[in-house]
Symmetry: C2
Subunit: 274 residues, 2 copies
């Protein structure tokens, strides 16, 4: 569900994707359906097949959900090396598994092979950008751009600069993501987990306590969430920021942490048989 | 967004509502639009005006969102005493402010005035049913039925029995709420805060830490939630329980609590100027 496309920004002509798993494939679908040519480097022999399957799902979802005009589709080319993926593109997006050494290696290769000034972004949901850019040749055009599954549908992309990133890189990347229907959110401080996933983890901790204490089953927790506030949060976020946060302040004054259930939540030991 | 109505259940003919604030008014709208006559007791002289305003909003929302057939609307009568509200009705719903003494008094009055066997439910989002029923004459037909705002739209109602509630009361109440498009969730153990709000509180704690640490503003947290996982959770709940929870177990094994950001979250001191 992209926001209105920012048509004043320049859509990317071509992008290089490193990694063709579920995240890389989701990026491929989003870029292609928004008119960019994709050059994708994935190590698995089944990369092409997998990405095409994701693209088929994405086309169906866009047809059903998108009331907006979309440009003619871009092309998909699976390439055999990092070098082929990163030359002549407007942006490189790395989506390898969450292994620090693997990502560092790929990003270092990408920075060495790409023309100077090419934006290089990592989809990591875990590592701080300063960690990832430590071994790069030109770290100033590197940043984290963390998307959410399914990448071709959910609009959020969290952008986070490392110590050596230049501000201009962040702005250029934000402009590109806006042209493909995304909502870039600048994470102003480096923080493990960024913003949205930390909030999700907080729910997970509480949910695990309930299961651990036999207060609710997984199915009951699911139902409690989807039949109640998830419907509202999809529209309003957490607090609906009317009056510069007044509503949240009122809510805290009136409700928050005054009840016995506002206890601290440590991680429960779920045991080996869970 | 009600689920398909359970037309095999018997819709309530008339209900008695105690309290005409935003929750009581929401109940009034849901019952009336689903064909039940409402007898509402509220202490404010502006009760009727407020409830009619909520009813107008609810009618508009139903017209735009509900693809289902609805019966002819029930009537709204504002009455001057608890006794007038609770006689000759299929269910009594108390929605007074979250003050234990006030609720206990209202519920004791209702139990004394209502014919024996009348279901009496409390909308409390905080108090355990055993606390609320302690001073009632016939506590066996009392339970908590906790809805979510806006009551006329969100389908969840958490049902929780007290120590002295009979199981039949829970089943009868669940059947009635189903006929007005709701999803009753039986909370099997008495627990402060029930289920859905405990999960919301967990998000609030983490959000407050981020604001406290100047990692994100309220607006940024809102955007992070509504442009990412809230859209997914509205459809899938927390964990999508395929294979009896296998997916959650996999998710825990692969991800949860392995990252540095999985720290404990204590409540931060927001200071007097927040």
């Amino acid at each position: 569900m992209p926001e209105e496309s920012n048509l004043s920004g320049k859509r990317p002509r071509a992008v290089g994707l490193l990694g063709g798993g579920v995240i890389g494939g989701g990026w491929a679908a989003r870029f292609i359906l928004n008119g960019a040519d994709v050059r994708l480097y994935g190590r698995s022999p089944r990369t092409l097949e997998r990405v095409q399957r994701i693209l088929t799902s994405a086309r169906r979802a866009y047809r059903q959900l998108m009331p907006v005009w979309l440009p003619p589709e871009g092309s998909l080319t699976v390439v055999k090396s990092v070098a082929e993926a990163v030359r002549g593109v407007d942006l490189v997006q790395e989506s390898a598994p969450e292994c620090l050494e693997l990502k560092r290696q790929l990003l270092a290769d990408a920075a060495r092979e790409a023309p100077h000034g090419t934006l290089i972004c990592s989809s990591t949901s875990g590592f701080r950008p300063s960690l990832l850019q430590a071994e790069m040749d030109h770290p100033e055009f590197f940043l984290v751009a963390h998307p959410f599954q399914p990448v071709y549908l959910l609009p959020l992309v969290e952008l986070c600069a490392g110590e050596r990133t230049v501000p201009d890189a962040l702005e250029q990347a934000a402009a590109i993501y806006r042209t493909i229907g995304m909502h870039p959110l600048i994470v102003r401080k480096e923080m493990d987990g960024f913003i949205a996933n930390r909030l999700q983890d907080a729910i997970s901790r509480e949910a695990l306590w309930m299961v651990h204490d036999d207060v609710a089953t997984l199915q009951e927790i699911d139902d409690a969430v989807r039949y109640s506030w998830a419907l509202r949060r999809a529209v309003m976020g957490s607090y609906r920021m009317s009056n510069g946060g007044l509503r949240m302040r009122q809510s805290i004054a009136q409700w928050a942490f005054k009840w016995p259930w506002s206890r601290l939540t440590e991680k429960p030991d779920m045991g080996p048989t869970f």
